[in-house]
Amino acid sequence: MSKLGLITKGFVKENPTFVLVLGMCPTLATTTSAMNGLEMGLATMFVLILSNIVISLIAPLVPDKVHIPVYIVVIATFVTVLQLLMQAFVPDVYKTLGLFIPLIVVNCIVLGRAEAFANRNSALDSALDGIGIGIGFTLSLTVIGLVREILGSGSAFGFKFLPSDGILAFVMAPGAFLVLGYLMVLFNKIAKK
């Protein structure tokens, strides 16, 4: 696969949200607005790229039996680094995303890419894979967030274009499932032709 292909495959063909259906918890929980979705996506991408690189480097040294715990420790380390950096430099974002930052540890996308890609590819390829999947994830989250924000609060990226509030249910829990469900239908319709 070409280097460019490694990046672009995450956008549509192996889109982590709509095709692989991984990492559903942050996808549903943090997409109350487009901005929140974007921030969550970028946070996950940060961990994904770094853990992919490190795991591809250490994979040959790790005995097979303990590879999962070792990967989890590596991922948890980067998540904690991210937590500390966010608290220091973007405390507001950290407060909004809350619990879902530490929960990146158990995001199946990160461990999934470590298992399926990073442990048998070079560091460069793994980094590109992380970038691609990360962008795909970020895009999906931003789109879901945007749809929910437009329908639910009558604004887009924080800019209000409706004087009233919109349909509250879309900002709340049921709206998350509904929007994801319908976007998946749309994605199936367009991408799988």
């Binding site: 559903m24 918890c25 158990v106 509904l178 469900g181 998946m184």
Partner: protein
């Protein structure tokens, strides 16, 4: 009274799946059949409660005294992973029949974010059950974890029941599989919103 509040709030009002969005992956993954959904719920129930108690103690007596709260995430995930292993081995020895029923789900549980989510929530979030906002004590944390996992089981089993029927219906092609499942969950979540007035 306070415990009843915790239980009702954790099962219905703040349902871990339908309101807090924790543990969605296994929820969508194993809810195809009622029997597997029940097995998974049982295993999750067991692990969440046990893991919450252990991580609570680890946090209280190891991390906080030494000012190591920043290691919370990494310590908790290691404790949970180790615990799942121990439970698996112990179950195999003590009760082979229970192991048969729950065993295959156990390895999946390490990456179930409901486990880590609940463990982190009980040591960081201030609850307001019974008066002033406070961090939960060990008793409350245990009850909260147990009630949360019962809520998880409830939503999972209800959903599996619906999904079994869904499979027999003629669903438009693009909706087949996960999309229609997600739309169904949405309607369930809407129904659960109705509970939100019960506990102030």
């Amino acid at each position: 009274m306070e415990y009843i509040l915790i239980i009702i709030s954790a099962i219905f009002v703040n349902n871990v799946l339908l309101a807090q969005f924790l543990g969605i992956c296994p929820f969508l993954g194993v809810s195809n059949k009622l029997s597997t959904a029940t097995g998974m719920s049982g295993a999750v129930c067991f692990v969440i409660t046990l893991a919450t108690v252990v991580t609570y103690l680890v946090n209280r007596y190891l991390l906080v005294p030494f000012g190591l709260e920043f290691l919370q995430t990494i310590a908790f995930i290691l404790v949970i992973a180790a615990l799942v292993q121990v439970v698996e081995i112990a179950l195999k020895k003590i009760s082979p029949s229970l192991y048969q029923a729950l065993g295959i789900f156990l390895p999946l549980i390490t990456t179930n974010c409901a486990v880590l989510g609940v463990a982190i929530t009980v040591v960081t979030k201030e609850f307001t059950f019974g008066g002033q906002a406070h961090l939960l004590n060990l008793g409350e944390a245990t009850v909260y974890a147990l009630a949360t996992s019962i809520g998880y089981g409830l939503a999972m089993i209800l959903f599996a029941g619906i999904r079994e029927h869904l499979a027999m219906n003629d669903v438009p092609k693009s909706f087949r599989g996960l999309p229609i499942a997600l739309i169904t969950v949405s309607i369930m979540a809407m129904a659960f919103l109705g509970f939100s007035g019960i506990v102030k």
